[in-house]
Symmetry: C3
């Protein structure tokens, strides 16, 4: 976590645009939350052309949907949402009516990465966790 999914119709984004958006997402998430970038995942699922409708008609709406750890202040989420929005529109030139951004909380205790249940989103728990995952990674490597 976090998991950022950018769902588009095939052909909407180029490889270069995906790469640029990943840079933006990763930087935005880390700057706003203070979390390390190691566990920021960005996915680009694609729909077949014609498999998305908005307002009852075929459309090429882009849906950016994130799962993040619950427990951060609302202003952190608001900043992430606004900056994702701005980055995506600047990068793609997408119409303001053809983008959705949703940032959804998931309790840290519902998720495992690196072989361990995630820490709560604060610096102390994260540091302790990272130290353990480092050792665990070495142990299993």
């Amino acid at each position: 976590m976090p998991i950022y999914e950018c769902l588009t119709t095939r052909g909407t984004l180029t490889d270069a645009q995906r790469g640029s958006f990943v840079e933006s997402v990763t930087r935005i998430h880390c700057e706003e939350t203070g979390a390390p970038k190691d566990f920021v995942h960005v996915l680009f699922p694609e729909l077949e052309p014609g498999h998305l409708y908005s307002a009852g008609s075929r459309a090429r709406t882009s849906i950016i949907r994130a799962l993040v750890r619950a427990g951060r202040p609302p202003k952190v989420r608001q900043a992430i949402i606004q900056r994702l929005w701005d980055a995506y529109l600047a990068l793609t030139g997408a119409d303001v009516m053809s983008v959705v951004v949703a940032v959804i909380d998931v309790p840290a205790s519902w998720v495992m990465e690196g072989g361990m249940i995630l820490p709560e989103p604060n610096a102390a728990d994260e540091a302790a966790w990272m130290a353990k995952v480092g050792r665990s990674g070495e142990a299993k490597a």
Copy 2:
């Protein structure tokens, strides 16, 4: 929002069935919630044949999964779920044991569309929001 995902195995639905289901979903959502149709998104992701199992065996289960704004009365959700169910079975002839419908709440403040955080699901907030989005859309167009 709402985002209605109808996930099937490739080859399960025809183009015409997708179009008809979009009409049903959009009508049902708007009738039950009073929301405008402008922001109703319906997506049809597809799995490769053989990539879905139910009860441990390969199956062609259809999974209809919606994200809607939190805050409406339970009876609104129940009506949406029942009507989606009925519409999908009537349209496809799918077996009663091969369909799942889930309608999942997401707080309005977690989502941006039209460049603005979504309003709470009530007529006053929605009208104020739509007026602002209209101006914003013009400004950016």
Copy 3:
């Protein structure tokens, strides 16, 4: 429900691995929750190669994401997460840093299967529900 999604990049899993993982997921879910296997769905969506990034770089991270009924004790979730983790790594040999497992609650009343809203996750409600679904299935068959 439950819905277990195992999201990978195309080419990550073989057919045989998918089949084996389904066996593990289905067994783990039923053993830990006591739920019948009939409604355990396991899906394998795939991303195009190059459509997933972790820590800012292209990666082949596997994301196992489940929707389960809310209301079970935390230790049930923890056991499911740990056993899914262990099963997936044993099966695939995936690196400990390239797997995410998330098990997310959804209230039973938000979901319909077999034509009926799901029961709360306890043996009495489930037995009553199964008896009704059986009759409903016969009636519609």
